[in-house]
């Protein structure tokens, strides 16, 4: 096995232990606890007022635009990470290239500002 994958073996073992631990505890719990299923136990407020309607409402479209802004700056972060590991080697050339990229993406937030989607009324 190559060195790279061998170093990921630790991550794999860590994940396997985590999954195994949670599975063991939950499995032990379901093995030990008494099981008496009733429909009342499934409602949201078991000893409270009966819920009216559904817990599912139409979300507002402005949340979608915020999610979209998040996606744009997530992609920007993805390209910032490799740059950050090599920023010293590139010098001012890298600063210029990255500044242009970030500058172009900053236009998105200016556009959102201009269209007043950032204002919370």
């Amino acid at each position: 096995m190559s060195d790279l994958l061998r170093s990921y073996l630790t991550v794999f073992i860590f994940g396997a232990v985590a999954v195994g631990l949670v599975g063991a505890v939950l499995g032990l719990g379901s093995f030990l606890r008494p099981k008496r299923p009733r429909p009342e136990k499934l409602i949201a407020y078991e000893s409270g007022v009966d819920p009216v309607g559904e817990g599912w409402t139409q979300a507002e479209i402005r949340y979608y635009i915020f999610a979209l802004l998040f996606v744009v700056f997530d992609v920007e972060a993805v390209f910032l990470f490799p740059y950050a590991t090599r920023a010293e080697a590139y010098g001012w050339y890298g600063v210029g290239a990255m500044a242009l990229f970030i500058g172009i993406l900053t236009l998105t937030i200016l556009e959102a500002w201009r269209k007043k989607v950032l204002r919370w009324s």
Partner: protein, 199 residues
Amino acid sequence: MTLLAAANGISLPGTDDPINVSQTVGFALLAALMIWAAIRVVTTRNVVHAAVWLVVVLAGAAAQFILLAAEFVGVTQVMVYIGAVIVLILFGVMLTQAKLGNDPNLSRRNWYGGAVVAVVLFGLLAFATIDTFEDAKLPEDRRMALPAAEVGDGEVPRTESNTGAVSDAVFGAYLLPLEVLGVLLTAALVGAIAVARKD
């Protein structure tokens, strides 16, 4: 492999390496999980469940990327796909469907045509793949051969890490695509705001 090597007159690297059993078993487990999850994505009746199964496929793909020694692509997969695209898709579900639970109209009634197309397509792809790359093996040491990269007007010192090498490629040969990607994302967001807003 024979065809490819004959066509290019080169010998592929790592063809004599033995098959690594533990890696192949890991690949098979991940692949089985991904295929099952992908089938559930296109067959489940609940669109929220489909999104959650899609997360399983994407996480499996990230693990496959790490198995292929492309760590940075794997991390990007987790960050952008599982972190952002799934959020967008769930917002899309919440904005378009005021109904939670099973929806019998999620798929068409006549799924046979789609199944036939998918099976024929897979047959063609599998035949072409096996015919061309019969026993081409991936090199056991999958670190990239990294020549000194050129960024800007001069050579930069070599890097040992995968992320650094990706950075050298992105800021060297692929700098223009990076800036164009910035323009594309900006255009996509401006267009999405224009389309999605009420007025």
